[in-house]
Symmetry: C2
Subunit: 301 residues, 2 copies
DNA sequence: AGAATAGTGTCTATGAGACATTATTAT
DNA sequence: ATAATAATGTCTCATAGACACTATTCT
């Protein structure tokens, strides 16, 4: 149900009473927030947008950008787009429109464990965003300190820190910078889990959807597209086979008829340029290399 | 963020003030509910569990079972399992444990348009459940009138009724039974959309996950498994090819070494029985028949 | 007996992946 | 000149799907 009513009213005035009881202030409060896992490619490695927390709990830790859903004013998608625009520091509507128009935004999942925020029960709707290279977030905006971080620098173990949920609120006294000693960065709340789920999602999505193009400018080359796959999957792909395969999937890319101005940085011919086609699903899919390990019956002669 | 704070405090007492401002009663209220798209197979056709609304809005309409998240008490998954147990009328914990233990439950998506419930802003976390044949919901429980409905009887057009979201709240005055004249059943709120999303999900999931087995009892035959695929996809499959393919996917099914007691209803040999294997992903996948329609370059000679 | 079904065998088209090869460009 | 790279060609293996066939069981 939307707002459900377990015991339905039995009479007309009981019904009135029932409706009156809908005042949510009578219930224990739940907050609804929207968090965004915004991914982009920088220097051929996957980066995620994080903000540094300026207040406890988890003060000094990095966290996913996000904020409260504005009750009665916006849908979840709108809230996610708004938060992202705010945190990336694209203030003017026109600039935001230009830079974010090619942005892909999709719902990732919702996280609602009662103890995930020590202050109160917070239900967070997580979104996943893919963007072509965005500028560094500008200081002086809503984001106290927002920055792109290489995903490989982060600690994504099941519960980042010492059990994220029940983590001590006095974290801000000790290692304030979100690092556990010399190790990788840890994230606030259950954000490591959310980010891990987002990475799983994007890795899977590249197989059957053309969304790799969302990480690139409007025009791109096949080798650039391959770099996206390699960065997201963390594996080198066979250039020749990848090239032929991409061109064989109907609607994946469309030729522009032109090439790049210069060859590769280390030599090689100019590459032809393409832009995204109209396919929304890849047929056939670009399957991830089978890092099998299945041993596939090596016992048989 | 979990509960985010855009403008971080600048001083110690400002911080205190900031934390005090966290009282969610100061914000416009948002309700959080959990809805369940519970699917099962009956007589080889897909059925969904619905409850009849006893109160406005959408009084008399059918809706997905669901209810409020209990603040501070339960996670989203727990709330979904609880609602499902309540609405299916499996009251005793032991019975619920027995009947629901084989239940598959996964998060489907979250719906939060401000106007989706005319009373207030309600954010609903939708879950998808697959179950082997469950008994008819018992009257006299929480569910005023809960019943399994054939999915094919429902109107799943983009916005079920007259634009679900802005639908008039006085619906209970007119066509009270959830039908628009002689047509198929329409659902309350945006539940037609949620159900449609759930159907998309289950159709896709059968391809690459072994979840078809969640619709069947512990032991099953390959033809029974095929019936699940045919019901969900709405297409007849080639019995011979399906059989060989299922057995060729490692970890999908495991032989029990026995067969059914009797042959098919209309003749044929006894079928061997299997139970679900330990694979969580199918490799290779069971791809849906390509209802291509791509015309596949009919212009060439 | 006749009909329907479980399970297996065979053949073909297609796609994935391993190389190999040619042409083009930067250093 | 040398090295690196874009793009294409060729070959092999695995899988999907069409079809045929046998064996078993119900009416």
């Amino acid at each position: 149900m939307a707002a459900d009513d377990q015991p339905p009213p039995t009479g007309p005035e009981a019904e009135q009473e029932w409706l009156a009881a809908y005042d949510p202030r009578a219930y224990a409060p739940i907050a609804v927030t929207v968090d965004v896992v915004a991914l982009t490619l920088r220097h051929d490695s996957l980066h995620v947008l994080l903000v540094e927390r300026g207040a406890p709990p988890y003060q000094g830790c990095w966290a996913l950008p996000g904020g409260f859903l504005r009750a009665g004013e916006e849908d979840l998608d709108e809230a996610a787009a708004r938060e992202l625009a705010e945190e990336t520091g694209l203030r003017s509507a026109s600039e935001a429109e230009v830079r974010l128009c090619r942005l892909h935004l999709e719902q990732l999942g919702t996280y609602g464990a009662p103890e995930r925020d020590p202050r109160m029960h917070v239900v967070s709707v997580a979104y996943l965003a893919f963007a072509p290279d965005l500028p560094d977030p500008q200081a002086g905006t809503d984001a106290a300190a927002a920055a792109w971080h290489p995903v490989s620098d982060l600690d994504l173990r099941p519960c980042g820190r010492s059990r994220a949920a029940g983590a001590p609120a006095d974290t801000h006294g000790g290692g304030v910078d979100g690092r556990t000693g010399p190790g990788p960065l840890t994230l606030a709340f259950d954000h490591a889990r959310i980010l891990a789920d987002g990475l799983d999602r994007v890795r899977a999505k590249l197989e059957y959807s053309p969304l790799a193009t969302a990480f690139l400018p409007y025009d791109f080359t096949i080798p650039e597209l391959r770099a996206v796959y390699e960065a997201v999957w963390g594996e080198k792909l066979h250039p020749g086979n990848f090239h032929r395969k991409v061109l064989s999937v109907p609607g994946f890319v469309e030729s522009t008829g032109t090439t790049t101005e210069r060859g590769g940085a280390r030599g090689g011919p100019r590459a032809r340029t393409y832009h995204a086609g109209d396919a929304r699903l890849l047929h056939p899919a670009l399957l991830r290399p089978t890092r099998d390990g299945t041993a596939d019956d090596p016992g048989a002669p």
